[in-house]
Each structure stands twice: as structure tokens, then as C-alpha cells.
Symmetry: C2
Subunit: 323 residues, 2 copies
């Protein structure tokens, strides 16, 4: 087993792939996204730098994005065709492949904490719908009313999409409607990997539709022997390609390096079949990558040895901020 020094600790985050087209991105809006990503990184970095766990770091990083209405998770979650929110989240910790996930919930302020409570307080991995919400109440998680999650922008996006459909127009190919997920992966100073993902799903999604986020092995995966992975993109493809577990398998059985495996899978294989999106992944040796095949992927990373927050939205224009 590798035993990375604390200087190897690293945190990566994503805030969705292509949730705004390049044209629609004003300088003010770009600043807001960079700032939101930096705040998320800062929260996780503080934990890792103090010798905390990867699980705590990814949870904290995701909570910041769940609270930020810019991101499609928690507050700011998109709407279903019923004008409701259905949120999914998952966490996984790599030392013993412990995992927890929730799907189709609306209530807990932090869906990632709901997923973590499933992992830590039940013998189960996945809870759905009303039963999941009931468990969250019993677990004492903070709840918010449905209105708390909604924003004017998301409602406008729903109405625009419903008008488009009412006119019988074909899918506009707008990646912004399909991509919106937040996630984090980390390697801590103890050599443990963890991943967390949270999402409101797709704007105007069919009620009940579940993407890859809460599917352990697809949108979320962590194993200390290989890597931790969190995905964002067109979830159905990420399920059918079992993306998270596929990277694990390419390392474990194929002897591939994480970066080679992830880049090939995202930029070539998923791109070839129309599976738009991206992922963040970190390996047990501290190597990491953030490949995407969409116009952009809101993302960031920080190494504890450098304490510099790297954030990016599109392929160029990366910014660096002191932690």
C-alpha cells in the first residue's frame, strides 16, 4: 500500500460540466463561479491541511456548493417537469469501500449529509424517496422547505424548456440543461481516498428520473487501492459505462495509470458515443486529473503542499488564488 506524506494530500472539485455556454458567460458571472469554486476548495483544504480525513474534506467542499445557488445541488437545484426538486447524492470512502447514497429527495438542506448518514448510520447503501426523507428526519438532519431550494433562474430555465417542448421543437442540444452536478474527491494525509457527488438532476427532467450521481460505481466511486472518482455529465451514459468503477478496473486489472485511463474514457470513448460530460479523479499515489469532453467543466483543485486554489471554467482561463 502506498503511504503518501501529508504533502501529497489533494482535493479536487467540480461544479458541473457546461452549465452555461461560453457566450452566456459574462465577466461578472465568471467571477462568481470562480469565487464559489474557491470557497468550496477552501473549506475542504482547511480540513486536509489540518490532517483531517478525505471524507470530511469532500463533504465540506460539497456542502459549500450545495448552499451556493449558482450550482445545481441543494439550494439552486433545477426543477422537474412538475416544478419540484428531486435531489440525489452519494459518498464513498476508500478504506473499506463504505458507501451511502440517496435519490429523489427534497428536504434535507445538504443532500450530501443525507448520503453520509445512510453510510454511517444504516446497514444500507441506497435509500430512495419518502423512505429516505423519513430516515433523514429521524437522523436529525437539517430540513428546509421546498421554496428554499428554488431560484428565479432555475424556474426561468424550466419555463423556457417547457415552452420549447410545447412548440414541438427537437432537443436543442443545450448541454446546460443536462449537466449540473457538484462533486469532490480527495486523498488525505493518511492515504485514504473519498468521493462525494450531489445534484438536482436535469432541468425539466421526468419525475422519478435518476442519473448516475447516486449509482455507486457510476457517478461516484472510491477505493484506496486505486482511485476516487466523481462524475458530471449526461448521467445515462455514465451509468451504462459504469464510469467510476471502470477507472478502478482499468487501474486494478489493466495496470493503467489513472490519468491515461480517465482521459481515454472521457475524451475518446464517452465522447464517441455522445456521453458528454467529465469527471474528477485522484489516485492513491496522489496523481489526479480533471478530463471533460464538454465545452467547459467548472472545476478546481488544491494540493496541501502548495496551498494554491486552482479554479477553471473552460479549457483556458484557469485562475490561481492563495488558499
Amino acid at each position: 500500500m502506498p503511504s503518501p506524506s501529508s504533502s501529497r494530500a489533494v482535493l479536487l472539485i467540480h461544479g458541473g460540466a457546461g452549465t452555461l455556454s461560453r457566450e452566456a458567460m459574462t465577466p461578472e458571472r465568471a467571477d462568481a463561479f470562480h469565487a464559489g469554486l474557491a470557497e468550496s476548495l477552501r473549506a475542504g483544504h482547511a480540513i486536509l491541511a489540518a490532517g483531517g480525513s478525505a471524507l470530511d474534506a469532500v463533504t465540506a467542499a460539497v456542502q459549500v456548493m450545495e448552499d451556493d445557488p449558482l450550482f445545481n445541488a441543494g439550494r439552486g437545484a433545477v426543477y422537474t417537469t412538475d416544478a419540484r426538486h428531486e435531489m440525489d447524492a452519494a459518498v464513498m470512502e476508500g478504506s473499506a469501500r463504505r458507501a451511502g447514497a440517496v435519490t429523489s429527495i427534497c428536504g434535507p438542506r445538504y443532500p450530501v449529509l443525507a448520503a453520509r448518514a445512510v453510510m454511517e448510520q444504516t446497514e444500507h447503501v441506497l435509500l430512495a424517496g419518502d423512505g429516505a426523507e423519513r430516515f433523514c428526519r429521524d437522523a436529525g438532519l437539517e430540513f428546509c422547505p421546498p421554496d428554499w431550494f428554488g431560484t428565479r433562474n432555475r424556474l426561468d430555465a424550466l419555463q423556457a424548456e417547457m415552452r420549447r417542448r410545447a412548440k414541438g421543437l427537437a432537443d436543442d442540444g443545450d448541454q446546460s440543461r443536462k449537466h449540473g452536478t457538484v462533486g469532490a474527491v480527495a486523498l488525505d494525509s493518511h492515504g485514504t481516498l473519498a468521493a462525494a457527488t450531489s445534484t438536482g438532476g436535469m432541468t425539466a427532467k421526468r419525475p422519478g428520473r435518476v442519473g448516475d450521481t447516486p449509482v455507486i460505481g457510476a457517478g461516484t466511486w472510491a477505493d484506496n487501492r486505486t482511485c476516487a472518482v466523481s462524475c458530471t455529465g449526461h448521467g445515462e451514459y455514465f451509468i451504462r459505462y459504469a464510469v467510476g468503477h471502470e477507472l478502478d478496473a482499468r487501474m486494478r486489472w489493466g495496470g493503467q495509470a489513472l490519468t491515461d485511463a480517465a482521459t481515454t474514457l472521457v475524451e475518446q470513448e464517452l465522447a464517441a458515443v455522445g456521453g458528454s460530460g467529465g469527471l474528477i479523479a485522484v489516485a492513491h499515489d496522489g496523481s489526479f486529473c480533471l478530463p471533460f469532453n464538454s465545452v467547459g467543466m467548472y472545476r478546481g483543485f488544491v494540493r496541501t503542499e502548495q496551498a494554491v486554489l486552482h479554479t477553471g471554467l473552460f479549457r483556458d482561463g484557469e485562475r490561481q488564488t492563495p488558499a
Copy 2:
């Protein structure tokens, strides 16, 4: 790509792992299980022998078990602690990794047809709860009232378990409470693989609990390049080990033979961590296996070239019946 002749076509089924202890198995009850398994095999075999598709064969085989109250899927599904039914099902077809699944539904007579409708009539892979049921109504699937799914035996099992818990007794280790899933995998004369799985879950499960059945990559998987897999057992372990996709990966990246990979995974690795259960799997070359680490696994297989229905409940006592 392999191109098996029609003589290579094969169907395997399971009706759960250890759903009755050996001691509780009377000769009459054993006869009933063998007959139920044989009827399921017969339905799928008729399709394969006529040159039909693996997808049609596994669907038909699972429907027979969903209708049979002996098996924990469809009619005969177990109860949650709320004395309700929450059923899950999935299908996957190996030529293009198409997949469909439903979770936490009660309504469609054949949950496997609900999963198949998701695959064939939507752009989605997984639908949950009320939204899934609404889709099934819109798709014209046959519905049955909740009472139709219930049986006296399952209600007795729920009440016995609730009494046990009320007394504060620890988990009795009764595998029969945790294992009950039906499934089928097939290779057809065109060289296509398919898998289908359906379940009522665990007796006295927490409402909302989702096991491995509808998790593509865990309880259900099919890819023509490798294998088709359907699992039964303690679902949380099968999710955390991504069992279906793990077999695919061991063949594709590890160069392992299906039988070696599946036997090692089930009989050694899952057994070692307490992941009781088993699986059925068939490879693109027609090789297949039915490993389990539990007391029994209700199972069967038929090769079209032989037209003999093989059925088994425990390790010994396999029966053969003409198709």
C-alpha cells in the same frame, strides 16, 4: 467477435439464494420450487430455440417467476416494515449496453416489463417511485392492486421479524430474510447477451431501501464483449463490489475466464467479507456458471442444443426435466 451457432444458445435463471433453510424444505415444497424454476426455463427456452432474442428470453423467464408467489418478485414480493411492497427490476442488453431499471414501485404486474419499458421507451436508464409508476401507466403496462402482490406467507414472515425486533433480539442471521431475487441471463443464437433481475427486496426492509437489483453494474449487467450477469444476495455488498461490472472488467482487462472470475469473486472474496449470495453469468462464448456462497441458490439452466431443464436448490439434488 464470437459468432456462436444456435446450438450455443443458453438460458440461466435464479430464484433467490437461500430463501428457505434446508431444514424447512419439505419434499412437497422442493417439488414446487423445481416446478416453478422449470416453468420459467421453459418459457425462455421456447424463445431461444425458435431463434428469438436473449432479451425476450430473459424477460419471459423472469415474468414467470414474477407471477409465481413462491418467488420474491412481483406476486409474492416481501413486505417493508410499513407492510407495503417496494419492487425493483432491471434489464440490460449487451449489443449496445442498453439498460433500463425501476426502483421502489408497486403497481405494474411485471416489474421486469417496467424496466424494459424504461429502456425501450425513454432516454433514461433508471426511474424511481411515483414518477416511475406514472410512466408505467402512461406506457400502458398492466397494473395490479397492492393486495394482488401479497401472500399469507410473506405477511407471516414480516410479523415474525417485527416480533423478533420488538424483543430486541439481534439479527438472527437468517439468510432467508435477506435473499430473494429472481433473475435470468441468456446468450441467443445471434450472439447477443442479456440480463434481467427483479425483486421485492428484504422482508421488513426500511421503506426506501434499494438493493443491488436496479443498480446497473451491481446486480445486473450485460455486454456482448464479455458476459451477462444477474445477482441475488445481500445487495449492499453487491453494490459496494460492483459485482456485475467487476466480472466484465476481469474478463476485459484481466483476461480472466468467466467461470474463474465469478467463482473467485463469489466463493472467496464476497464470502470473506460476509457478502452472502450468488449469481448467474454467461459469457459471449457460451460458457456459464452459477456460483453461490449461501446454503442454497434456486437456479436452473437450459442449453438449446440439449433441451434439458436443469434445476437445483442446494448444492446437491439437481434435477433434469425434458424441455
